[in-house]
């Protein structure tokens, strides 16, 4: 409990709901600005623990590119301070092209990212084969994005929550209701603070039903430990050109080798499926796709598979800012598959708005108003 709390009946300067990677990054950033933060987390299974920990700059839109680039850079700046168990590496992403259409996408992406100042280069099929000899032969080439990385998000979140322990307090508690800057816990206790930040991922809708968030279920599998054979995070460009386009269930090749030597295999996407159980057919389809790219994969042992839910907004960008109808309630939700990547940028955009400092990026594309509607002005 902070000094502010005892003085004015406030639990803290800010209450953050959700101790996943986004909530942790927000708490850490607000604490860096001198605020006392109370983080409420009820340890439900959520995306931070389920995801791949891939730090990746995507460019479906200018807003996605801007936030991704800024956020991954921020992660790289944090890297030297991060403990080993966060397993942070700047290993780069290779976007793989199987055909002419995907190679054109690689070239388009190369131009877009280069223009934005990102280090990236196009690889020919032969160069790709030299860079990642485990891949099947015959791929047309790839785009290498050097600044992308990987980390182990549960430990990164814990580190962010612990490193400013004088100003960040983590409390295990389930929030049952939110009214602006007040929250009611499942125990019946009410807490309030000048600002409440909702960062509970897929669960945010339970507390704030007007959020336009949709769950997209994903599957992942991890293998036993093997000698180093894959350097970069490998993603098929079909990820953007075909595989995950449209609204049907889909799979796309996405593999990284963790520092432990384990191969992390994704990805799948299903809409309107809220069952956390592994869907055997979907898992099989995802692995079949991965074997198409890595022929040696079939003989490796899979250890565990699991599912997670991405919390997606209609335009794919997060909602960062104050709720238009609930003063004092701030949103940091809707990150879809990029919560780990953009946690750092989200935190800074949120803090800048809350503290009325100059934001590092134009906040407009991320404001909740684009879906929830601006408050009527006279």
């Amino acid at each position: 409990m902070t000094d502010a709390a005892t003085l004015q009946g406030q639990a803290a300067d800010v209450i953050v709901i959700g101790g996943g990677i986004v909530g942790a990054a927000c708490a850490d950033e607000l604490a860096s600005q001198g605020l006392h933060v109370l983080v409420l987390d009820c340890q439900r299974p959520a995306a931070t623990a389920a995801g791949m920990g891939h730090l990746v700059v995507l460019d479906h839109s200018a807003a996605e590119l801007a936030l991704g680039e800024y956020s991954v850079k921020a992660w790289r700046e944090l890297a030297p301070q991060m403990p080993d168990d966060c397993a942070m590496r700047t290993n780069g992403t290779l976007w793989l092209a199987c055909n002419e259409e995907e190679m054109e996408e690689a070239e388009r992406k190369h131009a877009a990212l280069s223009e934005y100042g990102l280090a990236c280069e196009l690889l020919s099929g032969a160069e790709l084969a030299r860079a990642e000899p485990s891949l099947r032969s015959g791929l047309l080439g790839a785009l290498k994005v050097s600044g992308d990385g990987i980390l182990y998000a549960p430990n990164a979140a814990r580190w962010l929550l612990q490193r400013q322990s004088s100003r960040v307090v983590l409390r295990q508690a389930e929030v049952a209701e939110v009214q602006g800057n007040r929250v009611r816990l499942a125990t019946g206790e009410w807490l309030q603070a000048p600002a409440v930040v909702l960062a509970s991922g897929i669960y945010a809708r339970e507390l704030c039903p007007d959020l336009p968030l949709q769950a997209k279920k994903g599957h992942l599998l991890i293998t036993d430990r093997y000698p180093a054979q894959i350097t970069h995070t490998l993603v098929e460009l079909g990820y953007v050109t075909s595989a995950h386009k449209g609204n049907g269930p889909s799979v796309a090749f996405n593999v990284q080798q963790r520092p432990t030597g384990q191969l992390f295999i994704g990805s799948s996407r299903q809409f309107d499926n809220h069952d956390p159980q592994v869907d055997a057919a979907m898992l099989g389809r995802m692995l079949r796709r991965a074997m198409d790219f890595l022929p040696g994969l079939g003989e490796m042992n899979g250890l565990r598979s699991w599912t997670g839910f991405r919390s997606a907004s209609p335009d794919g960008q997060p909602l960062i800012g104050e709720h238009p109808h609930q003063p004092g309630l701030w949103l940091a939700v809707g990150h879809e598959g990029l919560g780990v990547t953009t946690a750092t940028g989200t935190a800074r955009l949120l803090a800048a708005q809350m503290l009325r400092t100059r934001p590092p990026l134009d906040v407009e594309p991320y404001l909740p108003q684009r879906f929830i509607g601006a408050r009527a002005h006279a």
């Binding site: 340890q43 299974p45 623990a49 549960p154 430990n155 814990r158 599998l221 991890i222 293998t223 036993d224 295999i265 592994v278 055997a280 057919a281 898992l283 099989g284 389809r285 692995l287 079949r288 991965a290 074997m291 198409d292 994969l297 079939g298 003989e299 490796m300 042992n301 899979g302 250890l303 565990r304 598979s305 699991w306």
Partner: protein
């Protein structure tokens, strides 16, 4: 759609586990003519108790049952075969050395047996330290132990059986440390007249090195085991030895049952008087329904096999025999219940999860298996928590996680067969 590499096969009756319960179930059901698949992840049938190998002497009863099974053309034995995942209703994904495939069934009998409970104590990960049943299995598999000094510690008759196997193969068993007090062991032994062949076994197995109220404190050594520190009553003794075998009773293997949705109680599969689980057409028999020894497993297996082919009259005729062996099992479990002191053997730096090198202190800082797993990666290795989650359940009372596919490590090409279902 990608080319199908697997073909779904079908059997009327699937039996998982070819130990005493599974073999008895198959032999009871086979004369009725259904197609039967009998799966086991070991290279040969017999389970843990009748484990075969270069140095094994399989009892005549087990040999006879194997011979009888071979006489049924409707029974197919799949050795070296494991269940990898559920593949839809009444369908399982299987893997052996050669292939992965989906098998569908009308009825299933789970005879998945039990495994040793391994509890962490200082030095337990040193080379030379094994489970008590593990040592037996290694010796039967060809491990030479002649002239080695061996300490056996833990609880229950398995210690004596392990000791007998080691001695028969030329080892010097310098200590058998039974954690239960003499009063409990003596009370158990005194009641054995009701099960005459068990009494004979107990006498055969008795050893001058046997001590009650005795438990291991630490395994000593740097690169491998050099000695053991044992608490015997009020005294602490140190014994030089080359091997230490520890068995802290057995834990039912219930991963597949839990994934199917069967109800568990006291870590074992709940069955009714017909050996039926709450799930229609799914039965269970043997140690996976609670520790009871091979005689109980045999009669439970026969009942399950008969019920699965619809012969309830004949099954009912076996209830009295099952009751008799259940009485023995109840006495055994009561006599050898674990001393709570065994939960406190680990030091802060003792590894609990040896796959991921997680220390006792790292786990003790958390309040649930899930929390500990996320923070420390315990249970995320190749054993999938079978050892450390079981230990954590004993040490901290944490409910172990529901296993997700694959149930044990399986080739990616096998898992990809799920694409075809």
């Amino acid at each position: 759609m990608s080319m199908s590499m697997s073909m779904t096969e079908h059997v009327d009756l699937l039996i998982i586990g070819a130990g005493p319960a599974g073999m008895a179930a198959a032999l009871a059901a086979a004369p009725h003519g259904p197609s039967i698949a009998l799966l086991d992840d070991n290279p040969l049938p017999g389970g843990q108790i009748w484990r075969d190998g270069p140095n094994a002497q399989v009892p005549k009863q087990a040999q006879d049952m194997r011979t009888q099974l071979q006489g049924f053309s409707n029974v197919r034995l799949h050795s070296g075969c494991k269940v990898v995942a559920l593949a839809g209703a009444k369908r399982l994904l299987l893997e052996d050395d050669e292939r992965g495939w989906v098998l569908s069934y009308d009825r299933l009998i789970l005879c998945t047996g039990a495994r040793e409970r391994l509890l962490p104590f200082p030095g337990w990960t040193l080379p030379g330290v094994t489970g008590a049943g593990g040592l037996q299995a290694l010796i039967k598999g060809g491990l030479a132990v002649a002239d080695e000094r061996i300490v056996i510690a833990g609880t229950g008759p398995l210690l004596l059986a392990s000791s007998a196997t080691a001695q028969k193969h030329g080892a010097e068993v310098v200590r058998v440390a039974e954690q239960a007090p003499l009063s409990a062991v003596a009370g158990f032994a005194a009641g054995l007249w009701r099960w005459p062949n068990k009494a004979i076994q107990a006498i055969t197995l008795a050893s001058a090195a046997y001590r009650t109220s005795a438990h291991v404190l630490a395994a000593l050594g740097t690169d491998r085991l050099e000695g053991v520190r044992v608490q015997v009553g009020d005294k602490v003794e140190e014994l030089a030895c080359e091997r230490l075998a520890c068995g802290f009773s057995l834990v039912p293997n219930t991963e597949i049952a839990r994934a199917l949705g069967c109800t568990l109680r006291d870590q074992a599969i709940v069955v009714d008087e017909w050996q039926a689980t709450g799930l229609a057409d799914h039965y269970a028999a043997g140690e996976c329904t609670g520790f009871g020894g091979s005689e109980l497993a045999l009669v439970e297996g026969r009942i399950a096999g008969l019920v699965a082919v619809g012969d309830r009259n004949k099954a009912r005729g076996l209830w009295a025999e099952r009751q008799r062996w259940q009485g023995f099992a109840d006495r055994l479990n009561k006599a050898f219940s674990l001393n709570p002191a065994l939960k406190h053997l680990a030091a802060p730096d003792t590894l609990v999860c040896r796959c991921e090198d997680v220390r006792y202190a790292d786990l003790a800082a958390h309040d649930s298996w899930t929390g500990a797993k996320l923070a420390t990666r315990c249970g995320m290795g190749a054993c999938q928590g079978r050892i450390c989650a079981t230990a954590a359940q004993t040490l901290f009372g944490w409910e172990p996680p529901l296993l997700r596919p694959p149930f044990s490590p399986a080739r990616i090409s096998t898992l990809a067969c799920l694409d075809d279902i």
